[in-house]
Amino acid sequence: MSDLYFATDLFSQLDRLQQQMSAVFGGFPSSIRSGRLSAFPQINIGTTDDSIEIVAFAPGIDASQLDVSIDKGLLTIAGERKRVAPEADESTRQYAQERFTGSFRRVIELPQQADPDKVEARYTNGCLSISVGKRESSKPRAITIQ
């Protein structure tokens, strides 16, 4: 593949393919609640045998200002990131404003087996880690053959 795109892994090539596909076909239907790929905060989701692990990359937020809630199988992460740079005036010039500021809300559709009573959330180094337990009945188990 061309080096022009600095594509160094399979995922970024898939992203590019997906972007080209959506440009041509107008995009495949995706969840009505999922925003564009570059929404803030960015989220990674993984699962283990007994939990669903969600990490939101949300640096520079006061943990007490973060609002995490679960309602009807939807996990919502909301909050606001305030502007840190002082407003430009006569003596201050702004050269770059790439960091997200403002209020945000991201919603994750939890699978059926998620247990809303077993949720833990912690905020460290600008990452919000949320662990949602799975119901006992949905955990993998070996079936004894009789």
């Binding site: 593949m1 160094t8 892994d9 399979l10 995922f11 970024s12 090539q13 790929l37 905060p41 960015q42 989220i43 990674n44 989701i45 993984g46 699962t47 283990t48 045998d49 939990s51 692990e53 990490v55 990359f57 949300a58 640096p59 520079g60 937020i61 840190v84 740079a85 002082p86 430009a88 003596s91 201050t92 010039r93 702004q94 050269y95 770059a96 404003q97 790439e98 960091r99 997200f100 905020y123 460290t124 180094n125 600008g126 990452c127 880690s129 662990s131």
Partner: protein, 135 residues
């Protein structure tokens, strides 16, 4: 793979790498920054989520400022990644610094995944008002 970085770290697939590609060319993210300048100097903020103080390196070399960092997010053992918007745990960004900055007095502060760098201007390079005497 029972380590601490799995939520962000995904093994590079051998099929995705060019065969002649040098091994050190890895996927890095360019962190977004805010940069302002005032009479004192330049202040820069960079988003480095998941980066701890130990995994952050800020270097000045030949008038270039390099920021290199590695994110590490504690995760449970046996995690299978299902959806990823951040796919590389390495952050890297460089800037050139003019000679008017005093690189020996750069202050760096990392809090909640945001790096704040204060790069002061040299004393003699600060703006000054020159009084005009009427002769």
């Amino acid at each position: 793979m029972s380590d601490t970085t799995e939520v962000v770290q995904k093994e590079q697939q051998p099929v995705a790498r060019g065969e002649r590609e040098p091994a050190e060319q890895r996927a890095t993210l360019t962190p977004p920054v805010d940069v302002i300048e005032n009479a004192h100097g330049v202040t820069l903020w960079a988003d480095l989520p998941g980066v701890s103080k130990e995994k952050l390196e800020v270097r000045v070399h030949d008038g270039n400022l390099h920021i290199e960092a590695e994110a590490s997010v504690p995760t449970r053992a046996g995690l299978r990644l299902q959806h990823a918007e951040i796919r590389a745990p390495h952050f890297s960004r460089s800037f050139t610094l003019g000679a008017e900055f005093d690189t020996s007095k750069i202050e760096a502060n990392l809090q909640d995944g945001v790096l704040k760098l204060v790069i002061p201007r040299r004393e003699e390079a600060r703006p000054r008002r020159i009084e005009v005497n009427v002769g």
